[in-house]
Amino acid sequence: MNEMGAAGRRFARGNALEAANLAPEAAAHAQRQRLALADAKARFQKQNWVGTVALFAVAALFPVLPGVEGWMAYTVALVIIYVIATQGVAVLTGYTGLVTVGHGGFLAIGAYTSALLTKHYHTELITGLIAGGLMSAFIGCLLGLIFLRLSGAFMAIGTLGFAFFVGTIVNNVNLFEGREGISLPKNRILIWEIGDVGFYYVALAVFALTTLLVYCLVRSGVGRALMALRDAEKAAESCGINRVFYRTLAFSLSAFITGLAGVLNGHIVRFIASEVYADIWYSVDFLVAAIVGGSSFLMGPLLGGIFVALLPFFLEELRELAFILKGVALILVLMFAPAGLAEVFGRPWRAWRRNKLERVRNDGARVSRASLDKLTKLEAR
């Protein structure tokens, strides 16, 4: 009980560190706490860095492998763009718990913003990305404020309405040139023209940035606040979380990411027409991708995006069969991996890690110096 009192007093004073020196029991106690903390961190915060970096390395080498042609890089870039858009959906649906069936609208906003800038002011791609992303984030912020009180199925229909609204506008307002479409010149980064492979690297770089953004978000206090709002709104407010601010922030971030995907999507095809961007199936597919992949896992959008983007691609010839297979696959995933593919794929990694920590933890019960060092190393990973 003694060390408890010490901890309590220290709590009252609010400074953290010297407690371990108070008494040997307190030191043991502190270490137990550290172990528990490391364990908790491993389970809920740490992601697989090695895997992520390896993945990006492979992706970076892909276009220069022998036998890989421009059109392959182009196709993979399309999938990456799909994945980025899905990341945007995951921020809103997975981490904040607001189901969106309207992210095709943000895709369109990003694409049209950049396309119009390029057409009228001859801007290059980076400017386009920044402008498209910010414009989308701005509209997202407004939408978040309008839909402040919606949730569940009501939010779904509201966002679907938004996608329809955007579709109607690009179809009917002359500025956007409807079905005629806007053709874009060859893509430029600053002053250099880029081809398919160059564009692939741009898409990959954007993907790396958005992944980093989502990673930082999830681990930060902001991410915690979003998840708190998702899990229990009243309780979150009682913890001092400003519901209006964080919901709007989530909407903006999510719209920003999908807006970036929209810019890329417009520039890779170099043709933007309302036929594509007024199609609400985009919005539905992004949602499906997020759910199938596992919307509260960092790698969820990647797996889900690949699943949804590539399935019809491989089955181009068998159109109806592709539909049926897509439906069956979707239902099977929901039945057998309700938390998403990322959860299933991540199981071995998490099991390995848990084992290792369990061992360290058991050692730690004997309060040895060595185990502390081991733990520190493991934590640093």
Partner: protein, 254 residues
């Protein structure tokens, strides 16, 4: 003693039901104040008013003489007020540590700095985590830090909720039936904890509780509500011998 937190003549109506009828309450700094009353007396509603989850049609709210009638719930936490819920309201899918960290949300500083992990943010995060662990230790939860809350027994969950409220380093804390549904052992434990919170951390406590032995032993003074209205106020001894209170609880003899 200085008034820490006070409401005057609060009215709350739900359609035809008057849940709070002209209720006044004055919480003195550093005290443990009990609020008791039969079921449906309006205690929870009063708490919701005080923590600004519930709007009221008439009345005034003061925090250290500052009018706070139009504050939002999250602003109350900034002021230094934390609360728990009568029915446990936790983030059940998340670990105990996450729950406590969420409780310390008002200490993360600038949210954008936190989001982009600007230099200060990493240190803040470290500190908050350490503090969260200390808070858990205070409530004997340090072994469960990594457990997902829904797997914990009821008594533990009650303590997690208390830990979460403490994590915001409040100056005043509202506890809505902290020992309801707990066994005797857990109740005794929680009673001790409430005392410690008050003495060692210097936090003012407002306590709604049906467990009379706990209320009578820990509270400095007690308010009694009945049918949404103030019935009595006094020390535990005074309340126990107040005929109105006895009538309210046992039913009036005609």
């Amino acid at each position: 003693m200085a008034s820490h937190f006070r409401c005057e003549n609060v009215m709350v109506r739900f359609g035809g039901v008057v849940a709070c009828n002209d209720v006044s309450l004055d919480v003195e700094e550093g005290k443990i104040v009990g609020v008791i009353g039969p079921n449906g007396a309006g205690k929870t509603t009063l708490f919701n008013v005080l923590s600004r989850f519930q709007d009221f049609s008439e009345g005034k709210l003061f925090y250290r003489e500052q009018r706070i009638d139009r504050f939002r719930p999250h602003q109350m936490v900034r002021l230094g007020l934390a609360r728990t819920f009568q029915n446990i309201n936790l983030f059940v899918e998340q670990s105990v540590l996450s729950n406590i960290l969420i409780g310390s949300h008002c200490l993360i500083g600038n949210p954008l700095a936190s989001l982009f992990w600007l230099p200060g943010a990493r240190r803040t995060e470290q500190e908050l985590t350490e503090r969260a662990i200390e808070t858990a230790a205070l409530l004997h939860l340090e072994r469960d830090l990594d457990t997902v809350v829904k797997h914990l027994p009821y008594g533990h969950q009650k303590r997690v909720e208390l830990a979460r409220a403490l994590a915001s380093r409040p100056k005043i804390i509202l506890l809505d039936e902290p020992v309801a549904g707990c066994n005797d052992e857990e109740s005794a434990e929680l009673e001790k904890i409430v005392r410690r919170i008050n003495r060692e951390l210097g936090i003012t406590v407002v306590l709604v509780e049906h467990d009379m032995s706990m209320v009578m032993s820990v509270c400095d003074y007690i308010y009694v509500l009945n049918f949404g209205a103030n019935l009595a106020r006094g020390t535990p001894a005074e309340i126990q011998s107040n005929p109105d209170v006895i009538n309210a609880y046992l039913g009036k003899e005609e």
